[in-house]
Every structure is written in C-alpha cells, then in structure tokens.
Symmetry: C2
Subunit: 413 residues, 2 copies
C-alpha cells in the first residue's frame, strides 16, 4: 500500500487525566519518527477549538526530551475544551471549517484524545471528511478517569486515578485507626454515572486498609440503609470508612447531593454547593453523634501524576504510538482499545474499535462486580482492577518538586 503522505494533528478534549499527556507523547514521538510520510506534527490549542480558531502548535519545534517528560505531566498540555460540535445534518459550518483548516495545513492524520463525547466528535468528523472526499485518517485515543468507554477493557487515565484513590484511602485508614475514638470518614470519588473509581477504592482492601462500605451510582442509594450499614461497622470496628461516587442517586433518580443539599440553604437563599461526601458526613454526625470527615478527591484524583500507575502511563503511550502506526498502515475511523488476555499475570493487546461502537455510549460497572448487599465490590472486580494500578510512577523530581514538561507551544503562522 502506498503510504498516505501528509501532516498530523493531535488534540486533547474533555476532563484531564494524569496520563492524557502520555498519549500525546506517544502520538508525537511516533509521528516524529516518520518525517518522510508525516512531514509536520501539529497540536490543537484547546482541542477542536484550536482547529476552528486556526490555532495549531508546531510540535516539530519542541525538544524531544521535553516531549518525553510529558509522561510525568498531568492534564492537557495543549489545552482542552468543553466545545461540542453540532449535528452536521443540522449545522455543518464547524465541519466545513475543520475541512478548510485540514486542507490549509495538508493534514491527513486527525488524532483526538478523549472520552465518549470526543469519540463522537471523531465519528462525525470522519464521516464528514469521507462524504467530502477528503482523504484523512481519523483515530480516537481513549482517556477518562471514569473508565466508562465501550469497546475497550479499560481506559488510560483510570488506572492512575484508581491508584491515587486506593493509596490515599489506605493512608487515611492508618490515620483514623491510630485513634481509639469512634469516627466515620466519607470519601467522594469522581463518577457521575459509572462507579469505577469509587469501586477502585476497594483495592485498598487488598492490603487490609480499605473502605468498609462502597456505594456506586449503578444502584439506587438510600441514606437510611447507609446509616444502618455504618452502625454495623462501627459496632464491630469503632471506625467506618465509606467511599461513594459523586453521582449516587436515590431510587427516584435524584442526585443524593441534591437531595441532601436541599436541606441546606444559606441566609441569602443560595443553595449550598457542598459535595456529597461532606453532606453524608454531616448526616452521620447528626445521626450517630460521632466525629466525622468528608474528603472529596476533587481535581486531585485526576491530576495526581506523582502517584500514577506505571502500567497506565505505559499503556497511554502505547495507545498513542499504536494509533499512529495503525493510521500509517491505513486504519481509519477507529478508537484504539485494549482487549484483556488474562488477569494474572496481566496481559492486554491493542484492538481497533469502530468509532460508532463507542461514541456517546457509557459502560457501567457490571452488577455482578458489586456485592449482593450493594455496599461493596466482589473479588471479580478486584481481579479486574488490581493489575491496572501496578508499575512504578515515572515522574521525575527536582528539589522535591515534579519536573514537568516545558513546551514552547509555538503557534504555526
């Protein structure tokens, strides 16, 4: 097959993770290895907005050593965006603009790194380019701490966030268990619809220092049941650690955070914005009259590159590199995915997932990976998640602080 000669553009979209830049490193380093086929490599400034605004970074001008440091640098170095493309059947102006810019820079490789929204963007762009006879290979690179993409065993970004959450809870376990007074701690993990990260907090139970109770949005949440569950644990252990997803809902489909915060309105009538962890902690303090803490992992859990999973970093790089290799071989319109071959020792292989199979879909935690009581995880979940947090973090330090990549980010004139 004759290779398709042309330039490559890569963009980052949606919420950052600890390893989205590792995928950037993978794409950039692999693409720069093929200057005969890919003469120039570009980065979108703030995702698809960088194309719409004609703001592309010239990655060829960056130092290779700094691109390698992207593997210890969290978040989206090129900038991300919350922009959602219209349905091209309704309004195709954005797509025409994208085509115009791709032509302007002779871009024949379009790479986009994100979650299910971003895969939808890839799908729409891919179809529009095909319908307009512009030859360009569109490849989606998966990322999300939420781990909810379909068509892949897991998503880069999840393993590192999972490791951070499990590690942090195991450390706080030691803190709370050093006291001889009763206490409840509620941890809040990201996950609006899927509870993968709260589930991952149960990994700390592998070393006996994990949460006693775990509640995911996959099952309806009942505050009275949680209070009863907590009482049982307290009776036995004196301390109860509880991990919840931010998106846990009542059986009427109402967010627990909203249900509880309706009770709390400030003197000016503003709704208090407290996260569900602190609201549940307050509730436990009221009901059980014990010391409580609500700990929200907030942005920490998706940016803690200092606690990244080595496996996750390596796979994020691999996803980027494999995407470029596949595109050079003619692959188009797919997301790079992972297929698990075995749990122990862990082995995965790269697969190509048609974009239509993953765009705009969400993968929940299977019911059988949650225990019968709905307040903890089963061994099958642990067997699935544990390998994903392995390997040593690769962040480089100088004077005790992370040595992040320093890109010049020179805009193409």
């Amino acid at each position: 097959m004759t290779p398709l000669k042309g330039n490559l553009v890569f963009g980052q979209s949606g919420g950052p993770t600890s390893v989205i830049n590792s995928s950037a490193a993978g794409v950039f380093l692999e693409a720069l290895d093929h200057p005969d086929i890919i003469p120039r490599v570009f980065g979108m400034r703030h995702g698809i907005e960088g194309i719409l605004n004609d703001e592309l970074f010239d990655i060829s001008k960056e130092e290779r050593s700094e691109l390698e440091l992207l593997c210890g640098t969290p978040s989206s170095i090129l900038g991300t965006c919350r922009y959602k493309l219209a349905d091209p059947a309704v309004d195709d102006r954005d797509y025409r603009r994208i085509l115009e810019i791709l032509k302007k820079y002779d871009i024949r490789y379009f790479f986009y790194n994100g979650g299910n929204d971003s895969m939808d963007t890839c799908l729409k762009v891919s179809r529009f380019l095909r319908d307009n006879d512009y030859e360009c290979r569109v490849i989606g690179i998966p990322k999300t701490v939420d781990n909810d993409l379909c068509g892949t065993d897991h998503c880069p970004g999840f393993g590192s966030a999972a490791r951070y959450v499990a590690t942090s809870i195991s450390e706080v376990w030691h803190d709370t268990h050093s006291y001889n007074t009763p206490m409840a701690v509620v941890f809040e993990c990201m996950g609006r619809h899927a509870g993968w990260l709260a589930g991952a907090s149960a990994l700390a139970n592998v070393i006996g220092c994990g949460p006693d109770l775990v509640y995911l949005p996959e099952l309806p949440f009942d505050t009275d049941s949680m209070i009863e569950d907590a009482k049982h644990v307290l009776k036995e252990k004196n301390i109860v650690l509880i991990s919840v997803s931010e998106g846990i809902m009542t059986d009427e489909g109402k967010l627990v955070a909203e249900q509880l915060s309706r009770r709390a309105t400030d003197a000016f009538g503003h709704k208090q914005l407290g996260g569900v962890a602190s609201l549940l902690a307050d509730l436990l303090a009221d009901e059980l009259d014990i010391k409580v803490r609500g700990i929200e992992f907030s942005l920490l859990q998706r940016s803690a590159a200092h606690c990244a999973s080595g496996i996750d970093v390596d796979e994020a790089v691999l996803a980027g590199r494999s995407g470029v290799k596949a595109a050079l071989e003619g692959t188009n319109g797919v997301m790079i995915g992972f297929k698990r071959l075995q749990d122990n020792p862990y082995r995965c292989e790269i697969v190509h997932v048609p974009l239509a199979e993953t765009a705009n879909k969400e993968k929940d935690v299977p019911r059988e990976w949650i225990n019968a009581e709905g307040n903890g995880m089963t061994q099958a979940f642990i067997d699935y998640a544990l390998p994903l947090i392995g390997g040593e973090p690769s962040q480089i330090h100088e004077n005790g602080l992370p040595r992040f990549a320093r890109l010049k980010k020179i805009l193409v004139k």
Copy 2:
C-alpha cells in the same frame, strides 16, 4: 560514666504525620542495637494512655524488616491519644500511676513523640520522676505537620506535608490551566494558629505552578481584600489559585470559617460544617460569577507517605536514633531539635532543646517571610522551606499499593 541499665518505652501522641513512624523506627532500631544496656523495648498503646492502662507492646518481638518498613507507613502505628495530663500540683494521680508502671517494667528511658502538648507531658513527667528520685531519662522527639515547635529549625512531619501540598497544587495548576474559561480554586491547608503549611504551598511557585494568593493566620484576613486580590489575578491570568490556612481569622479574632458559615444554616437550624476552602469558593462564585472549586487537603496532607520528603523521613529516623544515643550518654529532659547550618546546600545538625523552652509554646511564621501585601510568601521563606521537601520518597510498593509495616503488636503480659 556508667551506663544506666533499664528498659525503654516509646509513645506517639497527637495528630499523626507521614513520618512519625519513621521516628519510631529510629528509636526502636537504635535501642534494639544496645541489648546489654536496654534489655527490652516497649511501645505505648495509644500514647500515654498505654502507660496509664498498663498496655505496652513488646517491640523486641517484632521483625526487624517490618520495623524498617515503618519509614513508609504513615500515622501512629502504636496508636495515638488526645489525653492531656493534669497539672501535677493539682492532681498527681496520673503521675503516680506512670511511676508505678515505669517501676513495674524497670523502664529507665521514656521517649515521647509529639508536638508542644507532648513536650509539656515530657516536661511534667520528667520533673515528677526527678522529684520522686526515680532515675529515668526523658526525651521528647518532635513531630507535627504544623511546624510550630519552638527551639528547632523545623519539625519532622512538616517537610512531607509541605511536599504533598506543593506537589498537589502544582498538579491541579495543570488541570485548571488546561481550560480557557475563568476559574478560581481555593486550597485549604492545616494550620490553626501558624501558617507554615499554607505557606509551603507557595513552593510550587518555584516551578511556576503555584498559588497566586496565600493567606496565613498570622495576619488578619479580610474577605473583601481577597475578592479584590482575586479579581486582579483573574484579569491578568483568567485563573486564580488561592491557598489558605484553616485557621485564618478576621481582625476581630473570629475564625473566617465561622464567620462565613454563620450565613449558612440548614433547614433544621444546624450550622453547616463546611471547611473554609469551600466557603470561600462559594463566596467567589457568588461575587465573581465564575466556576470555582474548594479543595480541602484534610487528612490526606498528614498521611500521604507516598509523597513523603526523603529528607523528612531521614531526619525523623535521625531524631529517633539521636535521642537514644543522647539518652545513653546521660542526656535527660530535652527535645531533640534541628539547627540549620546553611540553606544551600542544606545542612542541619542535631541540638538538644530543654523541654521547658518548647513545651506549650508555638512558633509563628515570621512577618518578614510573608510579603508586604499579606497575600504571598517571600524568597526568604522559600529558601527556608525548599530544602525540607527534597529527597525521594522511600515507600515500597507491591501490586501498585503501599507495602506498609505489619507489626504483631504483642502486649506485654
């Protein structure tokens, strides 16, 4: 000098840190190296309560390799307590009980690891034993993430918490700066009276990824000034990161957290317990109509052994070992302290601080280490704090999770 033959007891008190167990390792390993002088080594279960309740762990029964793993294990492995001894002039029952237990186990070396309260305990115990002609060498080992002990350049525990706070903020900096929409993030660090830890968040500015504004309890806090400061930063940078101590106060000496939460009362009339970070974030959302996040480091900052400062771990061990060596040489009634010889390259030496000079006293951040505007730190503070976060963390991992020390904790019969 004839060595004083007898047993040693070590206890941990007050709030845990990432390295309090490193000092335990230092004391235990050094003491176990001198079986001819110190035949038995004990650990107090839950600090001084372990003596009062006659609950001592037999440390000689522990594996040496597990004692070494204490250096990657946060919090107080023996258990801590919040018990405060009475003034012996008013009620000396606890002291008589302590003397009884020391005699029972022929304890001639009394080691206590804690903050200024614990140094007060050491002082009172030391005086009581002297007044009752019981020869026993009492040594205080400093620890506190608050860094507010007098008589020492810094306290073990501070460097690791400082490193965690600075690292985490530098990572969240990348997260927030990946968006092109205005945003404010308020970080809340421990420190009720002294602002060392919030100050340490400014270390992230060394790599250009730190907080724009820092407010310590050493200066009165004014919400209107903070809003003005934030507006200035937002105008220039679009994003503002703010770090505050939990203990910031108004010029009337009222906690800002209390001042703001008075506004927020739930439907049942309960005062909402929200931390000052989320309260200030809500205030900024109201005033500036931008996206906000309040991030409280909570228990994470004092238990994040996975992000410990190597210097801090080494010095915590050194404090323990030096204490034992000093006691064997006849030293009594002192806290082990650090005297800085130079900043760069960093050099400290061990000093002996008379307990009366440090008990119940607090060391604030000097005014000249806070900038003139009262909203940031000066270079002198950075020069002081930066060396304390250096060195690599020493935590061992298995399957991506920390390998914590597993002690048998066998009670002496």
